[in-house]
Symmetry: C2
Subunit: 339 residues, 2 copies
Amino acid sequence: MPNGDEGQGATIYEVAQRAGVSIATVSRALRGTGPVAARTRERVLKAVEELSFTPSRLGVSLAQGRHAANGIVFPDLSGPYFAEVLLGYEEVASELGRSVLILSTRGRAAVQDLVRDLVGRVDGMVIFGRTVEDAVVAEIVRTGMPLVMLARDPVDGVDVVSSENVESAEALAAHLLGHGYTTFALAGADDQGDVTQRWTGVRRVLTGHGIRSPEPLPCEFTVEGGYAAGRTLLGGGSRPEAVICADDQVALGVILAAEELGLDVPGDVAITGWDDIMTARHARPALTTVRQPMRLLGARAAWALDELITGARTAPSCQILSTQLIVRSSCGPHPLEEK
Amino acid sequence: MPNGDEGQGATIYEVAQRAGVSIATVSRALRGTGPVAARTRERVLKAVEELSFTPSRLGVSLAQGRHAANGIVFPDLSGPYFAEVLLGYEEVASELGRSVLILSTRGRAAVQDLVRDLVGRVDGMVIFGRTVEDAVVAEIVRTGMPLVMLARDPVDGVDVVSSENVESAEALAAHLLGHGYTTFALAGADDQGDVTQRWTGVRRVLTGHGIRSPEPLPCEFTVEGGYAAGRTLLGGGSRPEAVICADDQVALGVILAAEELGLDVPGDVAITGWDDIMTARHARPALTTVRQPMRLLGARAAWALDELITGARTAPSCQILSTQLIVRSSCGPHPLEEK
DNA sequence: TTGTAGGCGTTATCAA
DNA sequence: TTGATAACGCCTACAA
């Protein structure tokens, strides 16, 4: 097809000229937004075909005042948790006709600027808890940008989608108490995020049983971070009977540290995770954890955001998705209290 | 700050008016693209501040004729492989001042349309092998859109970034032969993708040793897919001594199937994976696999794409990243041939 | 049923 | 050093 017309870059004007009509007619014919005579439409479509015309997204967006795109901000994509949530988000957003822009804040210096740039590219966005400073979030809200926050404490006037954390943490703690453990350590910490909620639940149960609530040991939410935490928690003199970890990756790291210290899991120390990532099931020992619906989390966020963008809903909503305690072998042989 | 001005939506005209200058001057002052008197600049910046003006991304893009954004198309984000690659890609793209749009083709009907839409939003894009039909790729190339393909056979005139597959597959096969295994099965198949390259390497070594090359059994590249394949391969009468899997997730599924069939891994059957995802190390038994630099793959793609976009390079390049055989326990007790 | 013309928000050229 | 003004590509009242 060696004709002079480059397939790219044809504008609506060229189409109009070729079809012998005005650009308004081309637009109408293409968008079905007004009456067009059958024969005229044919001519237009033919010209469109011949020039392989695709309306410039920029032009459309500028004229319509919308991007037909959503953003999502997360701290990191390493590890399955964020990837799964993203997958659920993209799937729904795409179904709703919106492209997805991603932004990872991991190790970024000028997060603020990056987020601002993102704001200028989308009709609405999702932000994970512990990703962007409150001040920046407030700024975004002030611009009127539809916003859904994920996995964090409620925020005034903002949509939030979270997994249930407190009650499942209580269930987890209760289960461990059923094993007879009396000394605990907590690995990982965040601020106003989902992990904080988990510790709230754990501590409530522990103190309810007269057990001193331990301070969580901060660490990165990675296997490496867990490993470092594990060395600290298990290498010292007063080793806890059980280590409750902020998530599965941390738990895997703690197990690694335990092995290296010559400790048996769960014989010498019980270890639990959170999320139920794929590895949790295949790990040795298999991880006792709390399963949260990662993909659904993303999907729900996408739907909520859509409601906000279309104006189908204006009042902020707060969704809490239910979770499930998954007992495997890393917390020890099954106690009698078995449910 | 209860003034009437909404922080959002201020245009360059309003800034200009407030500063008592023309929009051209505002633009120059902001972009440093021409001479502006110090006092004038001050006034402009003050107005910008007061109106919290941010240039409309749409306006900028339209005027500059560029999006400052890249796309990436992948089949699925479930499992660590694509997530890791994406992470590397986003990190570099973001550093280069480009936003990242993602598109998953998983289970999508109108992939073609979605990809076309993406094309209209970016300055360049990355496409994983086995994601988009060749015809569509050709169409994209024809538009002049900078394109980098990932993890697939070379394509004429298109940048490709891949991990080394053939040689490492040969090394893997040789290692298994060193164990003394003589009957094999291959789990997973694709078309012109990286898995095909792996089978090429494996078969070359096997036939070189007079061993009949098995046909790969197609399956989804997930744990579930591997499980199904495992049931088929191991449940029948003539069980192979070793199952070489297309990737780690498939291998994990095969292990699951083996366990369920009462088979010991590696006692009754050796199993190997590919990628070296986190789970490979923690699995029981730990997975013998080939490690490929997933993040680097994404990073390299982002750099290559940048060269193409900026025009720093015009000739297509083909990068092959090196991989590493990781021997763990899933292929059996270490043979004497130990390197 | 179709065409004209203004608007969306920038950038950049060319005079002044 | 500054200001008009023409692109950029499209949508959409409003007129005809």
